[in-house]
Every structure is written in structure tokens, then in C-alpha cells.
């Protein structure tokens, strides 16, 4: 199980990506923890061997991107058992997945696809989260997705949907601050109101990343490509999140246009300054 008392001590970490593995192994930068995408380590070769060496020096977080908790079909049990084996082997401090779907008709679409927020979806995702809890024997953190569309029959606001999922399953939340900003810009919505609507005590991790600004038929669309520094607007929203959730373990993600490791670490150190201020502010906890 994830215990907030220990996970809070993780501080600020970085998403470990393949181009940086050798340098992290060689230089062991001063970073609080490392998060990896589970699916990249489900083989048993060199990538996993490298990660096992890093385990001695860094707490790990296993972040799944392929479980497809929102698929109308049953969960892929082969994939779930691979996740279970990886989780057992790495004994991570945190395990997380997404509020999205990516598998239909036996095809994996490699994207965190949007769900209609309905009673039907809520019951289904809750059932899949509960099943995952039983198999993994740990508490999942569920991440809010970045969205480019919403469905007309989606009737439950996303933060409330997540809150109800927490209530029904006992899962925690991974609050991706960048995703909130991106979704609110793309679909309309107030990012601060979104943060306020999340159940604060359930938030066990925060994600930060950069986005790309695209033009679609004259309208600005933010693309959550994790390919740029964290924007000023997202830093401001992060400070708001820290004020509301307290010093929750925070991660910098960078997945496209991956920069030098030093650039990624510098972003983490920026987050650390905000994080420490939140710690000093003596977070007492809010409901």
C-alpha cells in the first residue's frame, strides 16, 4: 500500500527515459525519485537490469500507460499479470495508471483516449480499479487525462468523476497539473476550480510537463506532448495545487524533444523550490 507519510518524503522526481538511463547510472544526479513507464520494462533484458541497479539509490514509481482501465471489454489479464510481476520485482513507492482507454477489439491504440463520464463508465472503471487493486495488492493512483474532445453524453464533471472513483474503490489520485491546464484550455473550464473540486486527501502524486501550442482551424489547441519546459501558467497552477494538497511527491515528465539530463534536473530543482516552500508553510491538511 502507498502510505502518504512515506511517499511525501519522495520530494521531486523525474520521469526516466531511455536516452538518460546510462547517464543517470553513471552520475547518480541529486533527484528525489524516478518514475518509469511500466510497459517499457516488461521485458527481462537490459532495460530492466539497469532499473534494478538504480533501485538501490532511488525510490521508484511505476506508471502504467497500457492497462486501459476504461475499456468496455474486460481488462487484459496477461498485461495485468505482467504489471503485477514488475511491481513485485521493483517494490515501487508509487503505482499509477490513467482515467482513459486504449484497447478495443483486441487492438492497442497507444493513446490515452477520452471517456464519456457517465454512470456506466464510472461503474466499469471502478470495477476495473478494484480488480487491479486485488491483483497488484497495492493502491493505485489514477491520473486525470489531457483531453482534446468531450462527449455530448458526458454528464459528470471530470474531477467529480475522479472523486467518486476514489470513494468507490479507495484508489488515490495522480493530479497531472499540466493535463488540467491543457484540458481546460481545449474544452473550456477553469483550472483552479478543477483543482478545488478534487478530493485533496486522495492526491498522492503530481505530474508537471510542457505542452505544444497548435493551431486547429484558427483555434488554439494545446497538445500535451511533454516536449517543452513547464509553462508559467502551469507553474502558477502547481503552486495552487501545493497549497491545496500539501507537499505531494512531484514529477517532471519530458517525452518528446528530450533535452539533456541537466535541463530535466533543472526543471526538477525549480519544482523543488516551490515544494520546499509548501513544506515550510506547514501544511496541515484539508478535506
Amino acid at each position: 500500500m502507498v502510505h502518504m507519510s512515506t511517499s511525501a518524503k519522495l520530494g521531486v522526481g523525474i520521469g526516466l527515459r531511455a536516452p538518460h538511463v546510462a547517464e543517470v547510472l553513471a552520475t547518480r544526479p541529486a533527484i528525489g525519485w524516478l518514475e518509469v513507464h511500466a510497459e517499457n520494462y516488461m521485458g527481462a533484458g537490459a532495460p530492466l537490469a539497469a532499473l534494478e541497479r538504480l533501485r538501490a539509490d532511488y525510490p521508484l514509481s511505476v506508471h502504467g500507460v497500457g492497462l486501459s482501465l476504461g475499456s468496455a471489454a474486460a481488462l487484459d489479464n496477461r498485461h495485468l499479470s505482467r504489471l503485477q510481476r514488475l511491481s513485485t520485482r521493483l517494490a515501487p513507492a508509487l503505482v499509477s495508471e490513467h482515467l482513459s482507454w486504449s484497447i478495443a477489439g483486441g487492438i492497442y491504440l497507444n493513446h490515452l483516449l477520452p471517456l464519456p463520464y457517465t454512470e456506466e463508465t464510472l461503474a466499469l472503471v471502478a470495477q476495473h480499479v478494484t480488480h487491479t487493486h486485488e491483483v497488484l495488492q497495492c493502491r493505485l493512483l489514477i491520473e486525470n487525462p489531457s483531453s482534446y474532445l468531450r462527449f455530448a453524453h458526458s454528464v459528470i464533471p471530470e474531477p467529480e468523476f475522479l472523486g467518486e472513483l476514489v470513494r468507490r474503490t479507495g484508489c488515490g489520485l495522480l493530479c497531472d497539473v499540466n493535463n488540467i491546464y491543457v484540458s481546460c484550455c481545449n474544452l473550456g473550464g477553469d483550472p483552479v476550480a478543477y483543482l478545488e473540486a478534487l478530493p485533496a486527501r486522495a492526491v498522492g502524486e503530481i505530474h508537471l510537463a510542457g505542452y505544444a501550442v497548435n493551431d486547429a482551424d484558427g483555434q488554439t489547441i494545446l497538445i500535451d506532448d511533454h516536449g517543452a519546459p513547464v509553462s508559467d501558467a502551469v507553474w502558477a497552477l502547481y503552486r495552487h495545487a501545493l497549497a491545496r494538497f500539501g507537499p505531494v511527491p512531484t514529477l517532471i515528465e519530458w517525452d518528446t524533444n528530450i533535452p539533456e539530463l541537466a535541463v530535466l534536473c533543472a526543471e526538477a530543482h525549480t519544482a523543488e523550490r516551490f515544494f520546499q516552500r509548501a513544506e515550510e508553510a506547514g501544511y496541515a491538511g484539508v478535506a
Binding site: A72, N110, H111, T118, T121, Y148, L149, H153, I221
Partner: protein
């Protein structure tokens, strides 16, 4: 309001096909055409899978040019979409696809270079196993030795080609600055691709050794592998070949 299962089926079809009016009706425009919103997802699904193939097959990408590679990858993804989320396992059919893909099937060595890249990729992700300790085989009677079969390290692929694919691979590395022409008429190669210590790589095998090892790797007994190797080369030294097999880390177990 469509049930979730129907909605996801329609969404899946739309990722690889045209917009369907019933699906578009479920999407709120919010100042954009619903089709434009759907296109953002379609674009990401196809380009991200193309990126996966490009990472796994960088030499093919250099050989055919990036624009053509992305065109071929798009066709491959539609024909063989991934069936599971571990994308390091995606691309198993790419070599066979290239061999049959009309715009490039005349480039005869291309599919074998793709097979080499796939074998290297597989070796990287293959389970790390402990090599067989030859001492475990002490005390076997000669007739038992003849019947032996061997279990190869999971990183091993044995690959032969009528083209010098190892040379083609080498001169098309990203860090290769010297232009070195490859003579396609220099003949074929028999390669062993596998993990050595922490690295994956490949080496040329003598044709008789290649026959010996690939016969064993197919699960046949030692006698049959030796006979096949002798057909390839009458001078084949079975004792030396067996000694090398047992000491260079390529096998992890044996069965009597």
C-alpha cells in the same frame, strides 16, 4: 447515447478509417468541428506508432529515407495494428511486410536488414539467463552425447541472407560519417545475433558452424546437427564446434 462498447468500437474504426457521422454526433465541437477534434487523436495514434517503428528500425529508415519510411509504417500499422501495450514487442511482421510491400519490394536486401534490426531489438529485451556450465556435462557416455539437444540463450537469432546485410547495417549507423560503399555482389552472410555481456551485437559465422548451430537451435540432436554441418563442409570439426558452443555462452541448458 451509445453504450461505451459501441462508442469505443466506432472510435477504433475512426482511428484507421474515415469519420463516421454517428461518432461525430457524440462529440461536442466547442468552437471546432468535431472531426477536427477526432483528427487530433487519429494523428497521435498513427504518428506515435510510426515513431515506435522508427526507433526499432533506424537503419531501414536511413536506407529508404524518412518520408518513405513513414509512408510504409503507416501502411504497416493499418495492416498489423498492435495487439498489446508493450510496444517493444511491436514490429515483428515489419520485415515480411517490407518484402511484400509493392513500392519497395524490388530492394531485395531490405527485408533481411529489417530482420537483422528486429533480431538486435529482440536480443536487447530478451531475458538475461545464465550460460550453461560445461562442467554439468561431465561423465556423459558417447551415445548420450550424440542424442543431446541444447537450449539456446533467448537473445540468440541465427540469420542468413544472400546479401551482405551486416555491412549494410554498419555503414548506415547514425554516427557513421565515412561514406563506404557496399558491394552487393560480395555474397551472402550467416549471422549470429545475441547479447554478449551487457551489449547486443552480431558476428559472422562460418557457414558450416552456422548450419551446426541453427540445426541445434531448431531443436535437433547433436548427431543431426553434425551431419548437416558436414554436408555444408566436409572438413567440419565437430569436436571443436561443440567445444566452442559450450564455452561461448550461447547455450543455457541441455536435454539428454
Amino acid at each position: 447515447m451509445p453504450a461505451l462498447r459501441e462508442l469505443q468500437s466506432a472510435f477504433l474504426r475512426a482511428m484507421f478509417g474515415p469519420d463516421e457521422p454517428e461518432l461525430l454526433e457524440t462529440i461536442v465541437g466547442d468552437g471546432l468541428l468535431p472531426a477536427a477534434r477526432l483528427q487530433i487523436y487519429r494523428h497521435h495514434v498513427l504518428t506515435s506508432l510510426t515513431d515506435v517503428l522508427q526507433t526499432t528500425f533506424p537503419v531501414i529508415c536511413r536506407l529508404v529515407d524518412e518520408r518513405f519510411f513513414r509512408y510504409a509504417a503507416d501502411a504497416y500499422i493499418r495492416q498489423y495494428p498492435p495487439e498489446a501495450p508493450c510496444l517493444f514487442e511491436y514490429g515483428a511482421h515489419f520485415a515480411a511486410f517490407l518484402a511484400a510491400f509493392p513500392p519497395c519490394r524490388h530492394i531485395e536486401y531490405l527485408a533481411d536488414v529489417a530482420r537483422l534490426e528486429w533480431a538486435l531489438h529482440r536480443a536487447l529485451h530478451a531475458e538475461v539467463r545464465t550460460p550453461l556450465d560445461p562442467a554439468e556435462m561431465g561423465g556423459l557416455a558417447p551415445h548420450e552425447v550424440a542424442r543431446l539437444t541444447f537450449q539456446f540463450d533467448p537473445s540468440v537469432t541465427l540469420l542468413d541472407s544472400p546479401w551482405p546485410i551486416d555491412q549494410i547495417w554498419r555503414v548506415n549507423q547514425a554516427d557513421e560519417e565515412v561514406y563506404a560503399p557496399v558491394d552487393l555482389n560480395e555474397g551472402g552472410v550467416s549471422l549470429e545475433i545475441r547479447r554478449w555481456e551487457d551489449d547486443v551485437g552480431f558476428r559472422r559465422l562460418d557457414p558450416a558452424i552456422y548450419t551446426f548451430r541453427s540445426t541445434l537451435a531448431a531443436g535437433h540432436a547433436l548427431t543431426r546437427a553434425a551431419e548437416a554441418a558436414l554436408v555444408a563442409n566436409q572438413e567440419f570439426d565437430c569436436v571443436a564446434a561443440l567445444h566452442e558452443l559450450l564455452t561461448d555462452g550461447v547455450v543455457i541448458g541441455f536435454t539428454l
